[in-house]
């Protein structure tokens, strides 16, 4: 058993960039200098401790008390060791982060349960924390139908953005005619401002593997892939290590837990295309082809990898599964709103005091997330808007912040849940500039297959340039409206269909900024009224 006195150092990408590795080395040095050995004081690297903006984060556990510190320099390692051993050091007071404060108190970690608790590079640590226990239980006690029933009852919906009911998708794959099936985890998280999946992969990879194994059992798959974007080197490294460890413990491979269930999982690394997060493009990319979206139907659940039924879910969806089976589908369904159950992880960033990962029950008002948990704009000024859903989403204006966060409410506001990126914007943000920024992203990331997305986004970006440079005319306003609508309804895949969303939502809530950006603002206002 590890000693009850331990120091957990965040070793995920965010804190690493803030110098967590040097701090951990210094802490180990300070422990040795204090004459302690690892059995008396464990210093372990863990995954994300969530308040990423205050990194490097360190949590100190003693029986009955846990403290969190942020922004420590390696020179303060000695003081921290003393603090952990119950000698309060005053000079650390400024670095102490209140665990009772709203940032942590209002969160409900389900997917993030193990993040910051387990050492992501140690399978022993993961198993001691309870990972893989549900896999063993369901393999021995549940039929695949029972697993699917539990997931269906939980009301879990796809966390990749579209919110398709997970249980229904699993059933669709499972009920296809006999033959091979695949499970695929979409870890091609590419929205600007989204880092939830990266944190999960870097912090608790074994839980994802457990979730995928349970899914594979439930749909009858014996082979699976995790498609991770190449821009996540640490996540890839840890996932590969975790898969290797799981294989060596026979938690993957043939006859898992002595049953007839076999599963081979592999990592596939993307090559830098955002569009490969679209499921049909992702499947082509796994098969070694150019990642371009295909018309659906057929949906991957009917015909996916090499023509076989394929289950594709996002990292967060799979990672929620072990907890759902442990506590029961009804437990999960008790959280959230009528149509959006459970919890959702958001990556909070932008003009906000507490930057980091936030997991809250669905239906939590947006205001609670950004003002109470996030702490509002750093200079205390009011929030202007919140951007959700990245380049496919939109900006929600401050007056609508009391909207509960769920799939339907966000769609109604012209934004979308998306994968969970949430960027807070202060008063100085210009909305046409925001729209142009995201349109530039879509121009660069369009695969070029269909003409509305390939050529339409280029024209939209140039139109937005005219607004940003204050040389737009009333005709430009009309063209902008018309072209947004056209690209939205005629594009082939979700990327093109959603590309105009940042423009449409800012036009809807901040039309006056576009009007004011015209060369002759009065003309543009007039046009708007005539319409």
């Amino acid at each position: 058993m590890p000693s009850p006195v331990q120091v957990r150092c965040c070793d995920a990408s965010g804190c690493r960039s803030a110098g967590s590795q040097a701090l951990r080395t210094a802490l180990e040095g300070a422990r040795d200098a204090a004459g302690l050995d690892p059995s008396q004081l464990t210093i372990k690297p863990v995954g994300c401790l969530r308040q990423c903006g205050s990194g490097p984060l360190v949590a100190c556990d003693r029986p009955g008390r846990t403290q969190l510190f942020g922004g420590l320099a390696p020179e303060q390692a000695g003081a921290l060791i003393a603090e952990t051993l119950a000698n309060p050091a005053d000079d650390l007071a400024a670095h102490r982060i209140d665990l009772e404060g709203p940032f942590f108190a209002l969160q409900r970690p389900v997917v993030l349960e193990g993040c910051g608790q387990v050492n992501p590079e140690s399978i022993d640590d993961a198993i001691a924390f309870g990972t893989y226990a549900q896999l063993q239980r369901i393999l021995q006690e549940f039929t695949p139908e029972q697993v699917r029933d539990e997931v269906r009852r939980s009301g879990l919906r796809g966390r990749g953005g579209a919110g398709y009911p997970t249980g229904l998708k699993w059933d669709t794959v499972a009920l296809q005619p006999p033959g091979p099936r695949y499970v695929v985890c979409n870890a091609d998280e590419g929205d600007p401002g989204a880092f939830m999946d990266r944190s999960v992969l870097e912090s608790d990879p074994h839980r994802l593997i457990e979730g995928m194994a349970i899914a594979a059992y439930a749909v009858g798959a014996e082979r699976g892939f995790v498609y991770v974007r190449a821009e996540y080197p640490l996540a890839i490294e840890r996932l590969r290590l975790a898969l290797q460890q799981a294989r060596s413990r026979h938690l993957l491979g043939n006859h898992i837990h002595g049953t007839s269930f076999n599963l081979r999982l592999e990592v596939r690394v993307g090559a830098g295309a955002y569009v490969c997060g679209e499921e049909t493009a992702l499947l082509l990319s796994i098969q070694g082809q150019r990642g371009m979206p295909q018309p659906r139907p057929p949906f991957p659940a009917q015909s996916g990898l090499w023509g076989a039924p394929t289950l594709i879910n996002n990292v967060e969806t799979f990672t929620a599964v072990p907890a759902i089976l442990r506590e029961g589908g009804d437990w999960y369904a008790a959280m959230g709103t009528e149509h959006s159950k459970g919890t959702k992880v958001f990556a909070l960033s932008g003009a906000v005091v507490n930057t980091g990962l936030v997991e809250v029950p669905m239906g939590t008002p947006l205001r609670t997330v950004v003002e109470v948990i996030g702490g509002g704009v750093p200079d205390g000024s009011p929030i202007k808007a919140v951007q959700t859903g990245g380049p496919s989403g939109g900006c929600i204006p401050a007056e609508r912040l009391d909207t509960p966060v769920d799939y339907e409410s966000l769609l109604e506001l012209g934004s979308m849940m998306g994968s969970g990126g949430m960027v807070v914007m202060g008063q100085s943000t210009s909305m046409p500039e925001v729209a142009r920024h995201f349109m530039g992203f879509s121009v660069n990331e369009s695969c070029g297959k269909c003409v509305p997305c390939r050529a339409g986004t280029v024209q939209l970006a140039q139109l937005l340039d005219r607004f940003v440079e204050r040389r737009a005319t009333a005709e430009d306003m009309e063209r902008l409206d018309a072209l947004c609508q056209m690209v939205k309804v005629t594009s082939l895949c979700g990327l093109g269909q959603a590309a105009p969303n940042p423009v449409l939502s800012t036009l809807r809530w901040f039309r006056h900024e576009y009007e004011a950006a015209c060369r002759e603002p009065s003309d543009c206002v007039a046009t708007a009224r005539v319409r």
Partner: protein
Amino acid sequence: MAVVTLNVNGQDVAVPAGASLLEATRAAAADVPTLCHLDGLNPVSSCRLCLVEVEGSTKLLPACSTAAAEGMVVHTHTPRLREYRRMTVELFFAEGNHVCAVCVANTHCELQDMAVTVGMDHSRFPYQYPQRSVDASHPQFTLDHNRCILCTRCVRVCDEIEGAHVWDIGSRGGHCHIVAGLDEPWGQVQACTSCGKCVEVCPTGALFRNTDTTAEKQPDASLPALLRSARDQHRWHNQ
């Protein structure tokens, strides 16, 4: 033979089960425009001109790759579809360098015909005048990227009918272009059989025979359908 019956623009039609919506609209003589589609090649739904409205579906559906289903009620020429088609053609013209007066395909160009069909006499979007090249390395044919609309008919006919897979797409977004071999000069690609199918199916003057000059290209885009049906049915025209 199983059939499905559906309604296109108020007219009831019956088509064989498994037929596409496009075939159903043809049965109703609805004249749904297409550019990337070509009978005999697998549909890719990339030109978006054949989008139609189907009652009960919130999205517009590409007629070329949607299966006709029993009881569908289809509208092919609503005002909004006409407007989107015109905008689509405007986008095609604005993104490339299409100068009919000096083009080999003038008067035999499907893009030019499409502009007439949808009533596009000018583009409301600014021309992009992209810097594009011409590949004249092949002894018999030339590829002029300026006139390419990325319909990928050449890619598909070479892969699906000829079996050589000389063509593919390089780069992405507005920088997409057709590449020969591993992005080599066409004339150096040994896989090319010089069969000329890509030239025949090209809807514009992007691919042409070196012997053709302005307005002399006379393409024959019926080849893929003939070959596909001959192979499927093992029946050839000269037998």
